[in-house]
Symmetry: D2
Subunit: 428 residues, 4 copies
């Protein structure tokens, strides 16, 4: 009993700490914004910053306070409609593509909403009895991982919103410019065989889509020691990459033509020189940096041009899972990938952070997978069609958010995330 | 010489006065807004409030300062691209339908822009020699009339932006609710014949599209003493007005079906009762008020249902031009049409203010009309296709802006302006 | 009584004759087609040839047989749905833009339909008693004018359908190529004043939209002796006509950019030379021929470039109405405009035939105009918005179909009709 | 040497025989069509019958005659542009969605084209020397399998074209109506483990996408003995299947709402009763027949409602590959699925024919897969994104075309093929 309460107290403290830290991180990330920046939505894919701030709050309100708090009173009855993203079983929701048409609630009101819910959650953590505490601990954990996902979107959405503005706003000035050179690519071999990937419950936090551990047969394969650089990608462009159908999937080629793609997103050609729109402004392309803001179609076409292929998600996971989770993350405050420098002979560089790595695996449930019960079952499972898996996290992912089994996913034409390429190959 | 300088001084003072008054009116109208309200654009037809504030400023900068001021330095080189509306001969411009995607410049920066240009214009008025002063006087006058037009759009755009927000923001609370009853319609007869309409230069300010005076033959006609009320329009709705093709132009009927129109814009049906979204919030329909926010198609269909027709612009002008310019204008601070009460036997009521009155006249140049020279020739002339004339001003028009010859014009499907119906008929 | 029966017999014979002649003309025009040509619809504006053939037949069936024939039995119950064009008061109709998706009824079946209805109409004409005969005489007349309108559309629709086929099918080979030179333009002056235009019932056939005679005030004006040639239009193109916004209405300029217009419809540039797709195949541009297949926007822009303007419909009618109705019509079998050669000093050339002449008059009802009663009231009146008047007929109009008061109308962006330009000007 | 020539003669005869048989099958299938039916394309997914007939011919012309025949002369130089479907490396091609806008070439000309190419191919088979013969044998085989694929599309495209016609044309009358009852579903268990699927070259004809044999790990699973019936699917509909988001993938649910789906394609509800548009006309739903014309989204939603799942393609292949290739195929001339009757205890029914069975496997390359060299490498590989695998063939597939390793694929929203559902489940 005494021992239990010590554990309970520890759990309370740990929850309070991670809740406060994660929620504060959101506030830190929006600090450079002006009031007007919180409201706009420059394409349907992105959401206004204030929407992210309210939606992550709505998540705690809806899945925790409404269920477990007696003192809870609805902050505003329309917020359920405005800030539900896509949970059909919770109720109807405001159309996603129109989120940028709403000036109200103002960011001040959204901040009050966050504060109000934060106080309620804090009180609940402090006051819940042990049984409830254990129950809500899981929900708070998922709510915080959810918030971290939206922190990443916040950064890529701000970047996109700024990019289409002729004034080219700067999110944050960079003190110094990185000058490292990327190490040459090495090819690391893996023997494959009947392996296991995925994760089971009870081994730290995981989303339902990463579960369960399951067997996969892999042929021997090789993986590049680092991701493709801007310089390498430029060679593809200069070899007519965007003009030769032969490298492209049929859907990819249609997209290239319809969208008039000639380079990665956020690249701009001025008088024959390529520039890169970054969160620190428009800068000349750095050839040593990992290429980023490319679609699956472009990753696939590049691999085809290079005579290689993308890895499967199982290959990636098997190759990477013994690496330490280190890299260039959102906590580093760079918000841009940096050149990959060799760590040692025959080692994978930058498996985590910098850029998400497209795999050739469509996003499908693992054998034996069970989505969560209730509304949270909609979190991941219903998106399992026509999307591709990405692995490893990026320069705007939280270090505490990523892990070997983590499955990110986007449609094959999306480019506004920090996405890149690590090549793989067959070994005969 | 002495006399001249007195006149010049008077001109200077008068320009300074009207410049300051009109520019300040814009500031007054946006006072109730929150910072976020300045940035949004809920449909392509409307513009963000801060865009109106910057564009009207750009107008003075471009057509006056750039030409006549020696001290003038560009406030921001991109503003020419951002705040040119449609003047092809001035240069390229940011796409109209994307104006709401720009968080920068912030409203603070736009206010500094306004202040900066105001100072430059004031200095120019104060310091210009007599010859220049006379030249810029005309341009300042057109700039101020231009600003008044955008003040009207500001109000209708704010209204539209607010209307689509589930939170139904209120622009300004109303102290008291109007309770007057509309007088019964009387039919006033006019004999027509060979009349003159339009205006010539030198008779007070006019836009180029109102000129010159020209002859028109009119058959005898009659005009309703007041505009159609909500109550009368409701009878049209209840008689199946939006369900019976027989009353509608072919394009109008397609629009009714494609847009699923069932009532004027800003009407909402809750449990069988009609409500009206106004700048003071959502209120029950007042049957005595003039119906507003209807398209030309609806005006035409209503007239057809009522066995009447819309007037031509020449009929309207001939009938109205001896009336005093009185009515419910933006200066009255009501921002909504009010019931029309009889002024005296056989008199036209509310020819000005309250609601713009659709005419059956397509917007075309008058015989002998000459657009202005230079870029300002684009102000009006190039829009002369597929638009219909409206007359009389509305509850968000400035009293000093309207006159008998004033020609407003919109495409026949537009409804977000304060537009209404005055019926006409043939007299045999 | 005896005298009456002679008149009746004459009326019967005359109706039989014109019915047979006009209906046969349709058959003659489709003779060069292959079976597959009858079914396609290459853009929503055009209709499949077999649809025109069935719809004109449906017109007689619906407005005459259903009302007046006792022996009439419906040929096929679905035909009312399939071949009603736009008469809302008759019933619902198959969507216009999908007419080309229907392989059935086959053209054989449509021919049987035509034959069946022709027999019924013929029997009705032969057997109707005098009172009925007089009643149906008007309806047959309108039905035949309707058929003539569709004969014109048949030709322009076939031309469009053929034009988009890479095989460039030829409708009919031309025996010889015309080589005449266009006469120089002369400017003919007209004094204007208070004139009358339009027509009253009882003065030969007219559509309801041409009625009644009404007064119009005209300032003095001048009219070009002939229409603009390809050579003259080419000078406009070569002077940057399609690249300089200054000449264009705002809607026109948008259309130029959105549709990537660089020349009239059916012009093709191969290695720097302009070719013209005609009903006799692809031929080099003949500079002497009237320019055709241009929109109102292009006509207006050309006039602006030329320092002139388009005539109003009243100016056109007043200037032309004393001319004989002569010209290059569908009966001539050329199906293409030919060079305009001077007839005599100070004479208007080619007022009729060759190309429809855009006027600057929007299509609106004349003062005192009354549409027909019943469903036929939908024939013209409901299209009176956002369309412009054309006058004079074209090389695929029937000579017996055109007259001074005839009002054709199309939206200002349409180009697939044989449309051209006659310039006008003010006379001071 | 002698022996070789006997083998060569045999090969020649066998090629002549299969070429003639397969090509003739196409002619047989189009026999019921009227001339107009050959030209239309009612949605972008379908192609006009004459296009299929010409494109399959172009395939032989392009990949065999152009390469191997000395006597070959191009039949028509534009046909390469018109009848290339999607081979970028062959050259440009006419836009797919506009195939129905071309009346020419006429079906007569297309028949002459087929005849001409047939004669050339026959001559080549007869006259080629042994080395060439062996080379072209593979190409002819792929050309004939290609033709069989288009025969299937021909039938589903004709069905779709007919379905949207209000006249509801009948492809072929049925002599008698099937009345069998579907046997109850049995669940057959399979143990899984490390299995091999796919096929290697040299084991009869296969497409490149079926190769090579490769290892896959399968958990134990069960498979339904037969496919889902109309009756079972109706229960899903009546339980609100199309109105409850909970069963659907997110993309599927959007499609249901945007397309207003309420039932499978070709189902029609008249006065509360469901009818099925078939190639023999509109008939009441037969509850015993396999449900067909459903999308992957619907198959997945049904499985979710039923508490089961779809099989993977590896599960399907392992379970089915020892079954005889028997069933209801295009050769049976029924062109519609028929009720599935039990063959014996614990046996899979109807693994082949009737309806293609959606699997939950996205269409991706097998490990170690190599597309064909040259233009034929575009046949399959470039479509490997955002499509799902179907297995087993349908009632309009040729019996000689299908095999255990055969991979069909369509986007998850497509419904115009004869597609159905066989449920699977996990076995614990
Ligand atoms: Fe979320
Ligand atoms: Fe403006
Ligand atoms: Fe018609
Ligand atoms: Fe093909």
């Amino acid at each position: 009993m005494v021992q239990q309460s010590i554990q309970t107290t520890e759990l309370r403290n740990q929850l309070l700490h991670s809740y406060e830290t994660t929620r504060m991180m959101t506030n830190t990330l929006v600090e450079p914004l002006e009031t007007e920046d919180y409201t706009i939505q420059s394409i349907p894919d992105v959401s206004p910053p204030k929407w992210h701030m309210a939606h992550t709050t709505w998540f705690f309100e809806t899945f925790i306070l409404k269920e477990y708090s007696e003192s809870y009173r609805s902050f505003h009855e329309e917020f359920d409609y405005l800030f539900n993203s896509y949970y059909e079983s919770v109720g109807s929701f405001f159309p996603r593509h129109s989120r940028g048409l709403l000036s109200r609630p103002s960011i001040d009101k959204v901040r009050r909403y966050r504060k109000d819910i934060d106080e309620e959650i804090t009180r609940l953590i402090n006051e819940a009895d042990e049984a409830i505490l254990i129950e809500i601990a899981d929900l708070i954990e998922i709510g915080l991982h959810h918030e971290q996902q939206h922190q990443e979107l916040l950064m890529t959405d701000i970047k996109y919103n700024f990019s289409i503005n002729p004034l080219k706003p700067i999110y944050r000035e960079l003190d110094s410019i990185e000058t490292a050179k990327a190490s040459p690519i090495e090819w690391l071999s893996f023997e494959g065989g009947l392996v296991e990937t995925g994760i089971n419950e009870g081994n730290g936090f995981s989303f339902d889509n990463e579960r369960p551990v399951h067997k996969v047969w892999l042929e021997p394969f090789e993986l590049a020691s680092r991701t493709v650089t801007n310089g390498e990608y430029l060679a593809f462009i200069e070899d007519g990459g965007y003009k030769r159908a032969e490298f492209w999937l049929s859907d990819g080629w249609s997209t290239v033509k319809n969208q008039a793609w000639e380079a990665p997103l956020h690249w701009e050609n001025k008088d024959g020189e390529w520039y890169n729109f970054t969160l620190h402004g428009l800068v000349p392309i750095n050839k040593e940096e990992p290429v980023t803001h490319i679609s699956y179609y472009e990753a696939e076409a590049y691999a085809s041009w290079a005579g290689k292929r993308l890895p499967t998600e199982a290959e990636w996971e098997v190759a990477v899972r013994d690496q330490p989770i280190e890299g260039n993350f959102v906590e580093d405050g760079v918000y841009h990938p940096v050149a990959s420098v060799k760590k040692g002979e025959g080692q994978l560089q930058k498996a985590y952070g910098d850029v998400w790595e497209w795999t050739k695996s469509p996003y499908m449930p693992y054998p034996g997978n069970k989505p969560l019960d209730g509304a949270l079952g909609e979190y991941n499972a219903k998106f399992m069609s026509s999307q591709m898996i990405l692995r490893g996290g990026s320069c705007v992912t939280s270090q505490s958010h990523i892990r070997p089994s983590y499955r990110n996913f986007f449609a094959p034409d999306k480019r506004w995330q920090f996405t890149g390429i690590r090549l793989a190959g067959d070994v005969e």
